[in-house]
Symmetry: C2
Subunit: 490 residues, 2 copies
Amino acid sequence: MGGLAFRLLLLPFLAPVATTAVNPALRALASLNLQIFPTFQPEEANNYSIYYFDQKIDHFGFYNTKTFKQRYLISDKYWKTYDGVILFYTGNEGDITWFSNHTGFMWDVAEKLKALLVFAEHRYYGESLPFGDDSFKDSKHLNFLTSEQALADFAELIRHLKRTVPGADGQPVIAIGGSYGGVLAAWFRMKYPHLVVGALAASAPIWQFEELTPCGVFMKIVTEDFKKGGTKCSESILRSWGAINRLSNTGKSIENIISNLNSEDIQRLKDWLSETWVNLAMVNYPYPANFLKPLPSWPVKEVCQYLTNPYMSDSLLVQNIYQALNVYYNYSGQTRCNNISETTIGNLGSRVWGYQTCTEIILPFCTNGVDDMFEARSWDLDKYSDDCYKQWGVRPRPSWVTTLYGGKDIRSHSNIIFSNGDLDPWSGGGVTEDLSDTLVAVNIPDGAHHLDLRPSTETDPPSLQLARSVELRHMKQWVSDFYGNYRKQP
Amino acid sequence: MGGLAFRLLLLPFLAPVATTAVNPALRALASLNLQIFPTFQPEEANNYSIYYFDQKIDHFGFYNTKTFKQRYLISDKYWKTYDGVILFYTGNEGDITWFSNHTGFMWDVAEKLKALLVFAEHRYYGESLPFGDDSFKDSKHLNFLTSEQALADFAELIRHLKRTVPGADGQPVIAIGGSYGGVLAAWFRMKYPHLVVGALAASAPIWQFEELTPCGVFMKIVTEDFKKGGTKCSESILRSWGAINRLSNTGKSIENIISNLNSEDIQRLKDWLSETWVNLAMVNYPYPANFLKPLPSWPVKEVCQYLTNPYMSDSLLVQNIYQALNVYYNYSGQTRCNNISETTIGNLGSRVWGYQTCTEIILPFCTNGVDDMFEARSWDLDKYSDDCYKQWGVRPRPSWVTTLYGGKDIRSHSNIIFSNGDLDPWSGGGVTEDLSDTLVAVNIPDGAHHLDLRPSTETDPPSLQLARSVELRHMKQWVSDFYGNYRKQP
């Protein structure tokens, strides 16, 4: 099995973010996207102020005393210092302005909660670079890129805001994040419960680590999405791998898809295809959206229209795959040529997320071609580790996240909402059943990857509306509990 | 005010430990001590096996991949793999064998709880030196001496034991510690609740940081102990400072106490005296003991016999102080000369604790000479910081501990017993009222510094016996809750 493939499989986790992080076209695309949703006006969404806070590069040692500027955004339009709340977005792997524009939920609930909105950028992303241009230079400079340091940044920032923003001191804070940012929101509540009264962890695969979840679950869910997408759709994709292999063995060239590819290229092509199916499952939203790419509503169904017959000739099957791909890669009709080194809008910035997936964020994936529609691949940690060492000069510590954050034994914590979309492959590693009265699961049957964090639209399915109202109810409860206790104090 | 004085004032916190850490005379003295308590046989106490576990020097980064050997002790004499428990001593600033011998409580309850005893050494103390002889060389080598790294060591060690010791995997773990070790036990439960079902934090001043407790409380309690110790006792000590000042100004020499001292020496003398009074308050045990020094029962009362008249001449008052001091420094009758550079058995090892008090463990102290029996001194962080920089090349971050561990906002945690002796000056920065049903305070009216962790004796006051039975009851509850939940799981 190819190490590269598994590297690519990790991309979905970061794709919404890292790829756009340093892409100058980002803001243009983001605002294009915003126009799709009439209730979420860009001029409102962008009504934030940008600030910078001096953070210690190393929170966990006293030898390195240097600091860097962490960027954060603030919107106080709906904030009330009496009975209000601070909604704190725990930034993940990308430019924080992009998250701010793509987390319409926070803007939507700001008025209801009289909330101050804060979006904190994750170190080593966007403008928050500990060593400036040298930040990604080598493993020495990357040493301070960990979730612990990022959480400590959030903690210091919250204390800073409470000290310096008039009215903030007596207010509760709620952590909110999606995907890796959702993982951070949950971990933040677990490790710093004195700083946040609760967390909304949207599509947070906190159990995608070590052996907490069988490694095949992720791709099984992707497969199920395609099964639902259309008759024989997943079977067509399953059969396509053999077709590609046979075509490449015969040296035949398929126009637009396979031409002059050596065996390594063929593997990369298949990885690129796999990742594309994964991405489609993740952004299988009920309305036209532009999260990873501009797409129609229910894009998997759209794709599956081209994949109804697995039993045609290899050439025709691969031609159909190509047609299907165009839904994802050329929905706008502007793309002339597919670049198999990328699956989302650009792919700069993925570099440093790759470091995180080679150190702490070790997500085991595997396929068997029986329960899923992919070629069989086992999870090979040794190989993975060697690849990491080659690329970054570091080796993963796959059990550390479980040691530090508790794996499945998190029942002693409280006030975390774990929301998941059933269609989202990441839900397999998420918390989808209540763990206690205050560790609650919100499942969205028609939801893909953190759909609930997106701005509300008039075409939102009822399950999504219900999910958001449950989330809001919990947040209101945390706030009122806080003020109840707070005012009781002498 | 003198920076040195405040350095010295910090010693009590570490004195029971650090001073004896690298002292070869330690074991001899410790076993001498054990013989005082008939119920605590040295041959039983020492019935442990010594192990070493490879720990990462840096748990929070991936650049430094080196490891060091952490020492830990195990006793399985009373352990039962069915319904048993693992009592895990969160080692503090000293040699772990010394803690093992001075924490008779754990040995006493082992049979009742069918417990496996584990004593884990704190990094940079005893034999657990990350860089061997170079460990204390400079701030670069000391960089990995933090409470976070120590807690991570404990976490990794527990996971290691669960993986490798047959029968350990399905057992609950309880963290136990005293003084700084008690602080670590509490913090460990807060940060790693998935690894320990509860913590017994004995005499743990978790609120002696920042402005959580008024800086004068500590010395006020010391003073109250001396007020209780005898009529006019604290007044005599309060008056003694002026007497010493006047005598030193006149150039008069007082035999055995003041001779040929310059003004700096006089300050050091007064610091040494202050620290001696503090230590006496800490070890004001109801029976003869040898914790910091071999002492009679209720040593403060013993000392106060010499300090009943504050209004005699300066010379006579200072002579009486000298007599009083002999209770502490020469109870054995073997000491010829007092060395004012030390207040406990030796003072090696205090060096590296000094680093901790110059980085994370910033404990503000002050006196005013009105509410306490000491010369007035304010808490001057800037001066403190400059002194730290001079000595260690690092500056303190006094708010970090509060940011990280929550200060007073710890109500969301559970299953921690905070025990304190009312006579112990450290109780002022401790938790002495229940915070919730499961964050409970156990106060021992006749108790000094973590008296409850010492071996039981036939002369234990009823309040101490009650405290230990309450502690045992809570621990049994945690264990039965664990098995109740554990066996319910599929």
